[in-house]
Structure formats: structure tokens, C-alpha cells
Symmetry: C2
Subunit: 151 residues, 2 copies
DNA sequence: TTAGGTGCAAATCTTTTGCAGAAAG
DNA sequence: CTTTCTGCAAAAGATTTGCACCTAA
């Protein structure tokens, strides 16, 4: 974790930004919860637990800054709040979600499933994909099994 | 268009809702602009032109109702406003967008490009896709050509 | 007739911004 | 030192809601 923070500190400094305690606390929260899709409010509450003096506006500003640096990605599931995902080390970290409309669980699908599609976009339309977002809404296996047992 | 309105009128009545002039005007606007991704505000302004007495709250309520009936789909591109897309007659109307991060144009890609992916989700994960959303962010052919000419 | 709808204004909720004081480099 | 940050409170936008009055079926 220290290594990751140092790396991001470097990225910040390269652009003339400072690594303040508030930013570091926010980063730690994001790193500790990289599996989740935290909203700004979520992050705020978690950061407040380790750095009680932080303000919500600072969290918003930090998340905006980290989005600009591509450390996190701002995503939107349509529930009225923006959520933030830590991006991995690769250029090709994407977000593919399987969202069950029955039980609400959200899981992720593999990156490489989309590569053939991106190749087709390039060769047939000349479109160079930089990033993408894919959400599937449907019924997960679990719920499907439950439904069948009911009938 | 009348046929479509009648069909939706029926759907409304089946659920105990009424087809008011305001709802009909809103529907006409949506049908006339089915290629666009209108925000509630957009719809409001367009409806106001043909039915000046309508209120913004009614438009929001109507769009919510039509979303519930799956006549439209509420989508979110992350620009701070919800947008509404008319759904086609098929169960499989989806939204796939190619968004150019340079010029901002948004175009659509073909439905069937995703079918292989959905089949894989079903056979390998048991996930039944009801709907999905796919956005590619990148550089469109036009902008790419422009960029190359500059260099 | 009557359940459902409407317009308006006020309320709510998320996110942004102005500003005076604080602090990292 | 000086430029960047911060917290706070106020502002800004989008969306929702309460309410008294309408109206489609």
C-alpha cells in the first residue's frame, strides 16, 4: 500500500499538486475498499473515521483530482450518485458489471471478453477505444434457481 | 404514431392510469425525437411548445411512469442529468454508444455485436440478460484524421 | 362520481464554489 | 514565502413532494 501511495504522490507532484494528509487519508480508504463502488458520501464517512476534521467538499475535490489523474474512475449506475472505482495498473482496466435486477448483487465480468468487440470497432468504424463501460442487467444464476424452485 | 399512442394508452389503462393530454403531448415529443437522448428539461421545453401549460413536475412524473412501463429507458451518461430513450417494440432494445472524448459526438453501434457476449454470460455464468448498457469512450475516426493532419 | 392527475412552490439531495485562514514544498 | 489546500457555509442544479384544485373514464 505504501508503494502505491508513493507512486500516486509522485503523480501528484509531477503535476504540481501536493499530497496533503486529507488526500492521503482518502487514498488509503480507496485502497482499502477497492472492491467496492463507493459514493463520495461513502468515502467521506469512511475518511472521517480516520481523519475526523475532513470536509465533504475536500473529498469531492480529491475525488475529482484523482479522476483527472486516472487513479480512480467516476462511474454512474443511475441511482443518483456518482461512484468511484480505483483503477488498476494497466491501461486497460475497465468496468463490466453484471447487475441482478432481482437481488441487486453486482459482480464483474472479464476484461478480455470485450476485446473482439473493440477490434471490430477499430477495423470497421475507425474508432479507437480508450475506455468503456458495460453493464448487464438481468437475473443471476442464484435468483434463477430460486425462481424455479418456487414454481 | 397514432397506433403507438393507442398501444401505450392501453398499457396505461391496464394499470389503472389515464392518458391525459399532458401525457399524450409528452409521448408525441418522445416519438418525434426517438433518435435523441433527451433530458427531462429537454422534453419539458419541447412539450411546452405544443402544450404551454404543462409543468416540469408533470414531465418528471410522466417520464417516471413511462420508465415503469418500459416505454422509455432512463439512462445516464455521467453529465449530471438523466436522459430518456424510447424503447423499441422488441424485448431486446439496447443502448450502445460510441462517445468521442474529443468532439463529444455520440453514435450508436449495432445490437447484434453483443449477442455472442450474452450467450457466453448465459452458458458460462448462468446469467440471463434482460437489458444492458454499453458505452465506449474513445477517439472517433474524424478526430483521429484531424489529429494526424496536424502532426 | 371519483380515483387519479396537474401546476405551482417549497423541499430535498448531490455536487460545486467563494472565501478567509492554513500549510505543504 | 508562495502557491496550493482546506473547511465552512452558501449556491447551484436536478429531481421530488405536498397540496389544493382539476378531469378522464
Amino acid at each position: 500500500m505504501e508503494a502505491q501511495i508513493n507512486k500516486i504522490k509522485q503523480q501528484l507532484q509531477d503535476k504540481g499538486y501536493k499530497l496533503t494528509p486529507q488526500r492521503e487519508a482518502t487514498l488509503r480508504i480507496l485502497l482499502e475498499n477497492e472492491e467496492d463502488h463507493l459514493s463520495a458520501e461513502d468515502v467521506f464517512l469512511l475518511v472521517k473515521a480516520i481523519a475526523p476534521e475532513i470536509g465533504l467538499a475536500t473529498v469531492y475535490r480529491t475525488l475529482e483530482l484523482l479522476t483527472e489523474l486516472h487513479v480512480v474512475e467516476k462511474i454512474n449506475f443511475g441511482d443518483g450518485v456518482a461512484r468511484y472505482d480505483l483503477r488498476g495498473d494497466t491501461n486497460h482496466h475497465h468496468h463490466h458489471h453484471l447487475i441482478c435486477i432481482q437481488c441487486g448483487t453486482m459482480s464483474e465480468i472479464k476484461d478480455d471478453w470485450l476485446l473482439p468487440l473493440e477490434e471490430r470497432l477499430l477495423s470497421q468504424l475507425g474508432f479507437v477505444t480508450v475506455d468503456h463501460r458495460l453493464d448487464f442487467h438481468g437475473i443471476c444464476r442464484n435468483c434463477r434457481d430460486l425462481n424455479e424452485n418456487k414454481q
